[in-house]
């Protein structure tokens, strides 16, 4: 297709690796724009199976390919078997569509979905033959940009990127490309390009912000250069309906996670759970209208041929017109074998009723709910507005309706947690199990299962808990024992999120720019695919931190005074710090805060600061 087509070098490797269909392109919906003067490659820092269904990349892929003169392609991190062969054969990282070396593109865009994929970002850059750090790249290299959920503390990975977009990309991506194209035409230098990019709202150019430290090495804030703005405030789309959901996305050949047509029905969630970064940084709530959801769901199914459509969001049951949407979809899809799925359910009877509406007779898969904490006191601390009565009533309804398994999510290590709260998890599960059995006909009671998933709370940037200490590893193990002792055994399947993984997540989530040295050291020592349990090694990370002189426990396990400068202090999601502090104080008083999309404004300041407002089709209930 192009002179640099790497197919002749890739094909001989395909018979020696697993699932070669990941690397051959040609999927339905893949775009092949040939007459482009500007080429972008969008990359996901994990394998095709994990990254293919990413909705953000899907949106950008469509937008860029619809831009005159621009082509966008995809690239993923190959699985370890192919990486090994590529390194042995000197085959560089390639895009799927034209099999062009990634280093030949004008723009490389990498989404940063999760803390433990940062070593994969380095693996991508290295396989592409690109210098890892922005400071080592020059005009001969593509512009390397990033974005995604991790950018609300971008510091640990900031030096690897030329620019990062904070927030939503629908409008900003076109602006960034336009600036880059213009700078190419005028022959501007890379520094001039960076300054231009930094003028775009929401664009963070790390090299223009220098972290400063006092004589004792304590971080005291960043200094911006060349008039780069402080803070960098996130981009946000005012109206979701202004951007139609991609209805002809790529349909993979191989089995991938979330292998279904997904439509984003709303963005943002203002339930106000104080531990939840997504709930803070993706504000305000903006719903897609019922008409648009139904139209695009049907159009997407027709274009892709999928037999499942998922209505995605942070809290789909909150959509004010969900019932209408589900009724219309059920009617239109009757007899086609197409199912509708809801990824997240609230703990209430309405959610169960909605699940009933779409589940037919099967009730095969279980329902998932997240009470998060075992006692009412602690649920009030985190502002999870769910009572035990709600949970029991919801589970009863689900088992009466024919479900035989539910999954419950809990966290340990939440601020103010006591041993009584920890033991409360098992006690709550016990009562849930009793309620589930009571609601099940006696002959079927043996098949009742409660899945319980326990993770360790990791304080995140941009939340009311961003100053909190994460509990240490020994304490996690002690509290896990407490949970185990309090948990009924029969009928319960207990799962843990690995304590060591949570610790590293905590360091990454709130570390400063110096952590980038540790990421690079760990990667050089062989860390990659850290999110895959069998490849994760805390020892490798511990020695990486030691090698670069960082105390990871000081980052994760220490409570920070409110007046201590935070490494992400120059990045703003629009939520004011005074709101975060107020919410933290209310947490300590076990006082809850209502959802502003249901009632009145609670003063997080996002709407005024970003010039947007809550968009709902009807009244939320």
């Amino acid at each position: 297709m192009t002179p640099s087509d790497l197919w002749p070098r890739l094909e001989p490797l395909l018979s020696r690796i697993e699932r070669p269909a990941r690397y051959i392109d040609r999927e339905w919906g893949a775009r092949h724009v040939t007459d482009a003067e500007y080429r972008a490659v969008l990359m996901y820092p994990d394998t095709y199976e994990i990254g293919q269904a990413n909705q953000a990349l899907g949106i950008l892929y469509e937008l860029l390919n619809a831009t005159p003169g621009v082509a966008a392609e995809r690239a993923y991190l190959p699985a370890p078997d192919l990486i090994e062969l590529m390194r042995a054969e000197g085959l560089p990282l390639f895009s799927l569509e034209s099999l062009m070396p990634v280093s030949d593109f004008d723009l490389v865009g990498i989404t940063v979905p999760y803390e433990l994929t940062w070593t994969n970002v380095l693996e991508l850059l290295d396989l592409a033959g690109l210098p890892l750090r922005a400071s080592e790249r020059d005009d001969s290299h593509p512009l390397v940009i990033g974005g995604g959920p991790c950018v609300y503390n971008p510091e640990p990975f900031a030096p690897f990127f030329d620019a990062l977009l904070i927030g939503e990309g629908e409008d900003a991506i076109g602006e960034m490309v336009a600036v880059h194209r213009r700078s190419r035409e005028t022959g501007a230098s890379r520094d001039e390009l960076f300054m231009e990019l930094a003028r775009l709202p929401g664009v963070y150019v790390p090299s223009l912000y220098e972290p400063r430290h006092d004589e004792e090495g304590r971080f005291i804030g960043v200094v911006s250069k060349a008039g780069a703005p402080v803070p960098v405030t996130k981009r946000v789309v005012a109206d979701l309906d202004a951007h139609r959901a991609p209805v002809c996305p790529v349909v993979p050949f191989v089995d991938v996670v979330h292998d279904r047509f997904a439509i984003e029905v709303l963005r943002g969630c203002t339930r106000g759970c104080r531990f939840c970064q997504a709930g803070m940084v993706y504000r305000p709530v903006r719903e897609r209208s019922a008409d648009a959801v139904v139209r695009d769901a049907l159009a997407g199914l027709a274009c892709t041929g999928y037999d499942e459509v998922s209505l995605t969001s942070l809290s789909t049951a909150d959509h004010s017109e969900l019932e209408e949407v589900l009724r219309r979809l059920s009617r239109r899809l009757a007899g086609t074998g197409v199912s509708v799925s809801l990824p997240s359910l609230r703990v209430d009877a309405f959610s169960v009723d909605m699940a009933r509406l779409i589940s037919g007779a099967g009730r095969k898969s279980g329902l998932t709910f997240a009470p998060e904490a075992g006692t009412q006191r602690l649920r009030d601390v985190i502002n999870k507005n769910v009572t035990e009565d709600d949970l029991i009533a919801t589970v009863t309804r689900a088992f009466e309706a024919g479900w035989r398994r539910v999954k419950l999510y809990f966290m340990i290590g939440l601020p103010t947690e006591t041993d009584a709260d920890v033991a409360g998890i098992g006690e709550l599960v016990s009562r849930v199990l009793d309620a589930a059995k009571a609601a099940t006909p006696p002959p079927q009671r043996g098949s009742v299962r409660i899945g319980v998933s326990i993770s360790t709370f990791v304080p995140k940037a941009g939340t009311p808990f961003q100053w909190e200490a994460q509990i240490g590893l020994d304490e996690v193990l002690r509290r896990q024992r407490l949970v185990r002792e309090s948990m009924p055994r029969k009928g319960v399947e207990l799962h843990w999120h690995d304590a060591e993984v949570s610790f590293l997540e905590g360091v990454m989530a709130r570390g400063g720019r110096e952590v980038s040295d540790a990421i690079e050291a760990a990667w050089r020592a062989g860390a990659v695919f850290d999110a895959w349990t069998e490849r994760f090694s805390l020892a490798r990370w511990t020695s990486a931190f030691a090698q670069v002189g960082i105390d990871p426990e000081d980052i994760a396990n220490r409570e920070r005074p409110l007046d201590e400068p935070l490494p992400w202090g120059h990045i703003s999601s629009g939520v004011s710090t005074s709101y975060l502090i107020r919410e933290r104080e209310r947490a300590y008083q076990s006082r809850t805060t209502p959802d502003c999309s249901f009632g009145g404004c609670t003063g997080c300041d996002v709407c005024t600061r970003l010039g947007v407002e809550i968009v709902t089709g009807g009244v939320r209930a």
């Binding site: 269909a21 040609r26 339905w28 050949f253 199914l301 027709a302 041929g305 999928y306 037999d307």
Partner: protein, 230 residues
């Protein structure tokens, strides 16, 4: 057997890069083609309803197929040519249907009926010479047996039964092409590529690329009498 259902047989190719699809991936991709084409497909009854569709013998990852078959049951009679055109519009070029015809609902299943596969194995390699390749292959066949081991399971193929016709070796610039027929069955089918790899000296194959294509999938009416299923 179901009244009001029409069994449509479709012949399709799995070619080019899509030779690297697994059988399961082909099945999923073609189900999605049927949905995209908006065909009035029938749905199986039962606990987990799915599209009523059946496939011929599976092709391994990496092996192309020029005449592969599937049956799909439709609930409304639509001209086969119309169905074919609708499917073509929504198929990747390298997994496209090229023939469609209704068959009697009582006909044997594709897997039961299609027991013969004809293959072309293209071997690239400067050191591989036609006569030598032919002699090596014939010698292997005369041995009468081929033993394979895969994931600890040992299989013995009776070559006189598995390779029912004389094979043909044709030399060309930069390699040889081998054409042969293989008898397939529920007990497992001999992979032609394996036969070739066993016959040719390992040194010659080291740098060589081997591409296998199933050129036809056939019904064996009687010993040596083969026909297409549509």
């Amino acid at each position: 057997m179901t009244p009001g259902e029409y069994r449509l047989r479709v012949c399709y190719g799995k070619t080019g890069r899509l030779r690297y699809l697994s059988h399961l991936e082909v099945v999923h991709a073609l189900e999605r083609v049927v949905r995209r084409a908006g065909l009035p497909f029938a749905i199986t009854q039962g606990f987990s309803p799915h599209m009523k569709m059946a496939f011929g013998p599976a092709l391994p990852v990496g092996t192309a197929g020029e005449r592969e078959y599937l049956d799909v049951w439709l609930t409304r009679y639509t001209e086969a040519a119309e169905v074919l055109a609708a499917m073509k519009r929504v198929s990747p070029d390298e997994l496209a249907p090229h023939e469609a015809r209704y068959v009697a609902d009582g006909e044997r299943s594709l897997t039961a009926a299609l027991t013969i596969g004809t293959y072309r194995v293209e071997v690239d390699g400067k050191e591989i010479e036609e006569t030598q390749a032919r002699t090596a292959l014939l010698e292997l066949l005369e041995g009468g047996e081929l033993v394979t081991e895969r994931k600890g399971k040992i299989k013995v193929f009776d070559l006189t039964r598995c390779v029912p016709k004389d094979l043909r070796v044709t030399g060309r610039d930069g390699g040889v092409d081998i054409e042969l027929a293989v008898r397939m069955g529920p007990e497992g089918s001999l992979r032609p590529e394996l036969l070739v790899r066993r016959a040719l000296p390992p040194a010659a194959l080291q740098a060589a690329a081997v591409r296998t294509t199933r050129t036809d999938t056939l019904i064996e009416e009687a010993e040596g009498v083969w026909s297409r299923p549509m």
